[in-house]
């Protein structure tokens, strides 16, 4: 066993560290900066992204010919570990660079790659993912948005929902049904959609936490040129699975939730009616349990790095992370808020230093148990793909979709 970076990676880390120290915004401790509005966030994110792009840190594992860093996934993770220490604008490019661009590289024509990849990496264009619909979330293949071929174009009608970042995105990956008479999974096709095209209407959805990060997207007679098609007609399911695989491989992506260190930090300073919170046996027990989980996940990332170093893909251990971390963030946030008694019902900004991050985990922890595969679906995935248990019997996959949906 050896925890050291390889000499090349160590050099990479040292350079990244030095570069970040010179260029990243000031460290502001734990918890993310709250941005007053989208425009400020996007402007800050764009600036940060272009700085990173100029230095080769924007998309470290993507090829140089498109403006990527030409490095390895390991180096991508190393950079993230270092970048973590700074309060950099976060979230705007995650979907584009983590999921959309790898999909374009895997499935797109040369023309598509040339047109889109470099601009996505430099931060000039922002991407979103239009998969989920009101009647198709976990059961994504139930989606109904239709794309019909008319001459050299496709005409799209339908509605997407929960589309993160649609309000400031330039392009999106769109999964649509192109053949309703085929079976559920066989009638889908994956496209690139221009989010500024006529007929695209983005309506923000107000969230539990008051934020408006995701949207409903109404599509009425939107034209998509055939050259924006990423899979053969009917091949969209496999294409979408490619995208979701990249989502899973997006190792170490920071979802900004609190962990045991926040619990320790705050409970050490917090006086309750029965004394210091960190002296309470129940609090101590949760500290221990939370540490076991998040330290365990960190060690599992070491295992992923080990696999990557051996030229293997990350193993199934990656599916554990979100499953464990999101519900735990809820648990820790609830415990901390509970310790504040009646005050715990106040908004985070009224609770003092560090409490906005707690409040964010209280709300966003709930979201992260749903986004990118719910806890329940992740357990199914572990049971079926890792442990080899049989899939549930279902009767929706063999009939033509239009018979099922009727």
């Amino acid at each position: 066993m050896d925890f050291a970076d390889s000499p090349i990676d160590a050099q990479f880390r040292a350079q990244a560290r030095e570069w970040l120290a010179a260029h990243a915004p000031v460290t502001r401790g734990r918890g993310r900066v709250a941005w007053p509005d989208d425009a400020t966030l996007v402007a800050a994110a764009r600036e940060w992204q272009s700085k990173k792009a100029a230095a080769g840190y924007a998309a470290i594992a993507l090829p140089r010919e498109y403006g990527g860093g030409g490095g390895t996934t390991t180096q991508q993770i190393i950079f993230r570990q270092e970048e973590e220490r700074y309060d950099v604008p976060f979230g705007v490019y995650e979907i584009g660079l983590g999921m959309c661009v790898p999909t374009l590289l895997a499935l797109g024509s040369d023309k598509v790659k040339e047109r889109f990849v470099a601009r996505a990496i430099s931060g000039a264009e922002i991407w979103c993912q239009l998969f989920s619909e009101p009647a198709a979330g976990s059961d994504l293949a139930a989606l109904r948005t239709k794309a019909v071929k008319t001459g050299e174009n496709w005409l799209v009608d339908g509605q997407k929902v929960w589309t993160t970042g649609a309000q400031f995105s330039d392009y999106g990956l769109l999964l649509a049904r192109t053949d309703s008479s085929a079976t559920k999974h066989a009638g889908l096709t994956l496209f690139i959609i221009d989010m500024r095209a006529p007929g695209v209407e983005v309506r923000p959805i107000r969230q539990l936490d008051g934020g408006v990060e995701f949207n409903e997207v109404f599509l009425s007679g939107v034209m998509i040129p055939d050259e924006f098609r990423l899979t053969v007609p009917g091949g969209g399911w496999a294409g979408a699975m490619t995208t979701l695989m990249f989502e899973r491989l997006n190792v170490g992506a920071n979802i900004g939730l609190i962990d045991s260190s926040t619990l320790i930090d705050i409970s050490r300073r917090l006086e309750t009616s029965t004394g210091r919170a960190s002296d309470d046996p129940h609090v101590r027990d949760i500290i221990a349990q939370a540490y076991l989980n998040d330290r365990g996940l960190k060690l599992l990332t070491y295992r992923t790095l080990t696999n990557l170093g051996r030229g293997q893909l990350p193993g199934p251990e990656q599916s554990i992370t979100k499953l464990v971390i999101a519900s735990q963030a809820q648990l820790i946030a609830n415990l901390l808020l509970d310790l504040r008694g009646q005050e715990g019902a106040l908004v985070g900004s009224a609770l003092g230093d560090g409490w906005e991050a707690v409040e964010r985990s209280w709300s966003f922890g709930a979201a992260m148990r749903i986004a990118g595969g719910t806890d329940e679906i992740l357990r199914n995935v572990i049971a079926e793909r890792v442990l080899g248990l049989p899939a549930a019997k279902r009767d929706d996959t063999t009939r033509p979709f239009n018979e099922d949906a009727a």
Binding site: F3, Y302, V324, L389
Partner: protein, 351 residues
Amino acid sequence: MEFDFSEDYRLLADQLRRALEEAAPLEAARKTVDTGQINVTAWELLGEMGILASGISTDFGGNGLGPLPLCLAAEAIGWSVAAIPTASLYHATPLIQSCGSPEQQDRWLPALASGSATACVATDSALAVEDDHITGVISPVSGGTGASVAIVRANNQLWLVDMAENAVEQEALESRDPGRQLCRITFRNTPATRMTGDDADLALNHAVVCVAFEQIGGASRALNGAIDYSRERRAFGQTIGSYQAIKHKLADIWTKIEIARAHAMYAAWSLGTGAVDLPLAAAAARASATEAYLFAAQETLQVHGGYGFTFESDSHLFYRRARALAACYGPAVEWRSRLAARLIAGETTKH
């Protein structure tokens, strides 16, 4: 980054598991529940494979390979639910190695390395000592039955007692897992020799890291059995493994085992390199593996339905052993509390 055992060790782990599956099949573990007999074949096998000698320096008949082979063996012992006096291997041997006088080491380590002797640690409460003679009762002691030598605590020091002395009495106790024997030892003015070191923590941490591997091995075998069973057993026209209540249960067990394994692996590294973070790493490994095995044993039994409650099924073997392993070296709540205290005090791991 190489967070894994070396290829040689991975091969050794494989060999150990297969050899112990043969020397200590689950059928033997079931018999042990009635007989309380140690599995001598398995013990000898560990001797032949150099495991008994691995924590012992070459000066005293060991092979000086350090704790890693032992961790791998512990996982295989857990996997086979073997009836082996592990306390001697995990705890007493490293304690004599770290705290024994040269004479004591010379007297006992070669015999422990060859497997001709076993030792036990009976330090849970202090005994009376006068003129190098020990008096008192200590109970329950793990692995005390048949041990050739006992380590006891008196007057804030560790002492070695040769169990062949006349003034010692061992009485077997009835325990829930007869594969892990417990006994009461009575000393009546029994001659003892003082150990030179009194830092018992290293050996204790060594022991709990080994037990963590044993717990992970047991939990993994229990999970495997439940997966097999849930793919075959049918109810309401389907295999039960296609039902989500079963799937999610097994997914949760797997998740706990993976996390516990990661902790155990790190603790093994810490132990093997003498890192300063061993107390923290060992406590994490101990707490995490205890929870994983208790949960796995209990929930995989549930997956077997009524059959899981029979003597014929394997479930009770894991259920018993999980309880026995949770009970040794202090309860899980205490380990979690110790862990929390270290974290609150600002302790961190090296990597």
